[in-house]
Symmetry: C2
Subunit: 366 residues, 2 copies
């Protein structure tokens, strides 16, 4: 199947970094939260090998920030997630599945607390603002919900701390994982968090002034030239190897968080008002599916999304990639639990894949 | 700016027609409701000229159907739209802006009534299901909201009636605009409506069985070969010439329906329970913007989305295209009303554009 061109319009929103990303030679995009997300520069594999040594800055503006302000903010957010958010401290990010009253996954954002009456929801790809607006209006909550004018820029790689410190100052190294500080760039304070959609470590700069996008992009280049900083983007191979979930790819509204392996983020016994908890208490130990990994020793393509065994549908393919580092084909598949109870392999297109837990453990599967 | 490749994944959902669309030679997609929407085969202009004589079938599966079932269905839908839906008859489609309690545009779908306790919302590009779920839960309404497994296929062009009649039978010609009938294909009843995102006339077939997608696609070809039927897709040039609005392009959540020229679909005086009506009554005659057309005599590209006059921001570009038929450059722009009150032209990149009402009136502007 030949590559297809993306028709870009106002609806597939550009970002304040897009001109610089284009100048740096981006070749592919996906659309995420109605916004352009660069996906590769040279190629998936070339980018992958480049990335591991290097320092990159990624335009992840499409991680939209849904701002929730007002006295009922924390109540609204707690309704939306089964994770207990009562002990979050100001400046902290919390990975938190959002689930509706049936336990269905609506999104899996990072919640960022500024104060109990001021939060951001740093969303994956679904219009969480609409759900929050609907709930707030229906429940008569005293909150304002809006997509904020914030465009995150990620700096990822082993030398990210060095570079971000050069630009944002010596408070950067003290920022712990999923914690943040308001730091200054050209006289404007913006949030800098130790986070990012990779396992390499790094920071996300939550740009809050579009006019400063190109100066920030450029300054990260000039101050990082000796560190070999480049333009980059999230990389599919690295994502799958790391077992990082992608909402809409690996799971969606048809799944509950137990099926996604997110048990650790559900506080079933907490005394909190969360709309999904009654359903999730019933679903615990009763989910029909589980997201697992499949490992093949040879390169392959699934012919179909549906996975069958003895003519019975036993699961479906969600994401797949060839891992050049490990010489394995890796897939993330949503499998029926009863099949998993009885099988440790599955045959696809005549090839045998080993079923493994996520994230992939390369010491075990090599 | 070179064309960019769309990175396709599970998240940018394929449709049951995708294999056939690919085989027919589609070259470009956009992503619409997290789903692939074909945008061109040969090229925007080539497609445009081809389209006007011909009969096309378009994969518009991305017009997702949000199904609302249950005793409170009509109450929920009336809350969501300021258009009075009380007189809709079964089988009817109603174009209806959806607006929140501030009057903000959430979407501009076709509402399709099957019964007062069973509707579809045939949505433009935003996750209306999440808004509806939030409202329903917050208000404690007795409804079920879900994205239905429906994939619309449009048949557009002057000979559409002939072809659709051949496949779905002699009840087809009697279907009036925005009315529908449940008609049979290979033993399965599905909705056929006289509708479609063009001004050429035609039908949309609301496929409800993915297994029948390729048989339907193929049969529309074999039964329409003498009518010169082809694969097609919505065409940007035709859309702009016809003044068809596109949510996310021409307007978004930052606008109210008066600003989009949708006054005719707002029943300000109706005695209905609609969450946006109080705000809209205040906004009527007090909106800051209006979506209008701009006509230039020469081909051009806007350098920026922002439109300035005397260094003041007076509007913004939303959509633009070169119209080969009329030899004009056409743009849809969201302009400040106070500027419109005092000006009938605007200068962009040193060229003078005439401000006109939408839809474009080619007799007037030629």
């Amino acid at each position: 199947m030949a590559d297809k061109i993306l028709s870009i319009s106002r609806r597939t929103r550009a970002t304040p970094f897009t001109r610089r990303v284009e100048a740096a030679g981006v070749k592919g995009y996906t659309v995420y939260n109605h916004m352009l997300l660069p996906t590769f520069c040279e190629g998936k594999e070339e980018d992958y090998w480049g990335r591991c040594q290097e320092l990159k800055r990624w335009d992840v503006s499409c991680e939209r920030q849904i701002e929730v302000c007002g006295p009922d903010s924390e109540r609204l957010l707690q309704l939306m997630t089964p994770r207990d958010i009562s002990r979050a401290v100001n400046g902290q990010g919390l990975y938190a599945p959002l689930c509706d009253e049936t336990g269905a996954m609506i999104n899996d954002p990072i919640l960022i607390k500024f104060a109990s009456d001021h939060w951001w929801i740093s969303i994956a790809d679904s219009d969480v603002d609409l759900w929050a607006r609907g709930l707030a209006h229906g429940f008569g909550l005293d909150v304002k919900v809006r997509e904020a004018e914030i465009w995150p820029l990620a700096v990822q790689g082993p030398k990210a701390e060095t570079l971000v410190s050069r630009v944002f100052g010596n408070e950067v190294p003290a920022i712990r994982f999923f914690r943040s500080k308001m730091l200054e760039f050209r006289g404007r304070k913006m949030m800098v968090m130790r986070s990012g959609y990779s396992k390499q470590g790094g920071f996300e700069i939550y740009l809050n002034d579009a006019e400063l996008a190109e100066p920030l992009w450029d300054e990260l280049f000039t101050r990082g030239e000796d560190l070999n900083v480049r333009a980059g983007c999230p990389n599919l191979i690295e994502r799958i190897e790391s077992g990082l979930l992608s909402y809409g790819n690996d799971m969606d509204i048809n799944h509950n968080p137990f099926e996604c392996g997110l048990d650790a983020f559900i506080d079933l016994d907490a005394d909190i008002e969360s709309m999904s908890l009654p359903a999730l208490r019933r679903l615990k130990d009763n989910s029909a599916h589980l997201l697992v990994g499949l490992v093949f020793n040879e390169a392959m393509r699934f012919a179909d999304f549906i996975i069958k065994a003895d003519d019975r549908i036993v699961g479906e393919l969600r994401s797949q990639v060839w891992s050049p580092r490990y010489n394995k084909h890796l897939a993330m598949v949503m499998m029926k639990r009863d099949f998993l109870d009885a099988n440790s392999t599955v045959s696809i297109n005549g090839k045998i894949g080993n079923i493994v837990n996520l994230p992939f453990d390369f010491n075990a599967i090599r």
